[in-house]
Subunit: 143 residues, 2 copies
DNA sequence: GACTATTCTTACCGGCAAAGTTGGAAATTG
DNA sequence: CAATTTCCAACTTTGCCGGTAAGAATAGTC
């Protein structure tokens, strides 16, 4: 049960933007370099993040990306939902009709609960949290 | 973030065994038929479940599988761990050394929390719970 | 002891989605 | 207009997951 790289990359990129919040644009290559994410790949992610409004992007020289809203307003559940799409752990949760046993399936509830648990954790964590923790950690590491 | 079929199959097979607990063996083909799981595939799962002790299997005529312990003692976290193997959502949780940023990575904690949340839900549900719920549901469906 | 039924073991396969690449089109700036 | 950067779409690659196949081991039965 893995978190797809997209999400990992996405979160890291967004944290990077959060750390830079209020200080202008960051360009894809910068983020990619700092987080060692394949640049071309990250580019795709950035545009989907832009399309949804989590990020605001500008092209051309001095272009780049900034957060679309305050770091406190963006939580990881959003990111997950956008970049991973199908959130639920099993087909039959999203499409109960596809399962013959749907009506009398004891497991359904559990997987649903699992999904909620995940979403719970993620929606409780904002980019602000992560950014703050990040600065602490790098400060520690520097010492 | 999907639950692999293995796990779904495994749980369903085990519930089937739980429903049959104390009434002798169940053979792979029976379980496969009732839950419409590809038989050959299920066979593999059963043997790994056997190897770990969740199931006790006997070959030869009148062979088959029974639960290795009481339904109350088997929870879904066990099943998940056995059949999914790598439980944690991201490489860097299982192998922190493989990640350059490990020491100053703000996200690690979250993915760990997510893993714990999942494990929490799963370890709170036993086969007994599921079996009981199952009988209720089928009774309802019959009406 | 031969026969049969069942699990065990191993090796293989196909498909599909995820990760990543490439090339070019659209903006934006100076 | 030239340079820079994002955007877009199509393509390639790779790994793994779900499933298949076939034979070996084991356990009962007559």
């Amino acid at each position: 049960m893995r978190v797809p790289m997209k999400v990992d990359y996405g979160v890291r990129a967004l944290v990077e933007l959060a750390l830079h919040y209020g200080q202008g644009q960051l360009q894809t290559w910068e983020i990619a370099a700092r987080q060692s994410i394949p640049e071309a790949y990250l580019e795709q992610l950035m545009t989907t993040l832009n399309k949804v409004g989590l990020v605001r992007s500008r092209r051309g020289p001095q272009g780049g990306h900034i957060l679309g809203m305050a770091p406190e307003e963006i939580n990881l559940s959003m990111v997950m939902n956008i970049l991973d799409g199908n959130f639920s752990p099993l087909e039959c949760i999203t499409y109960p009709n596809d399962c013959v046993f749907a009506e009398s399936c004891a497991q359904q509830e559990i997987w649903r609960t699992v999904a909620e648990a995940i979403q719970g954790v993620l929606s409780n964590t904002t980019l602000a949290d992560l950014a703050q923790r990040q600065t602490k950690l790098t400060a520690q590491a520097a010492r």
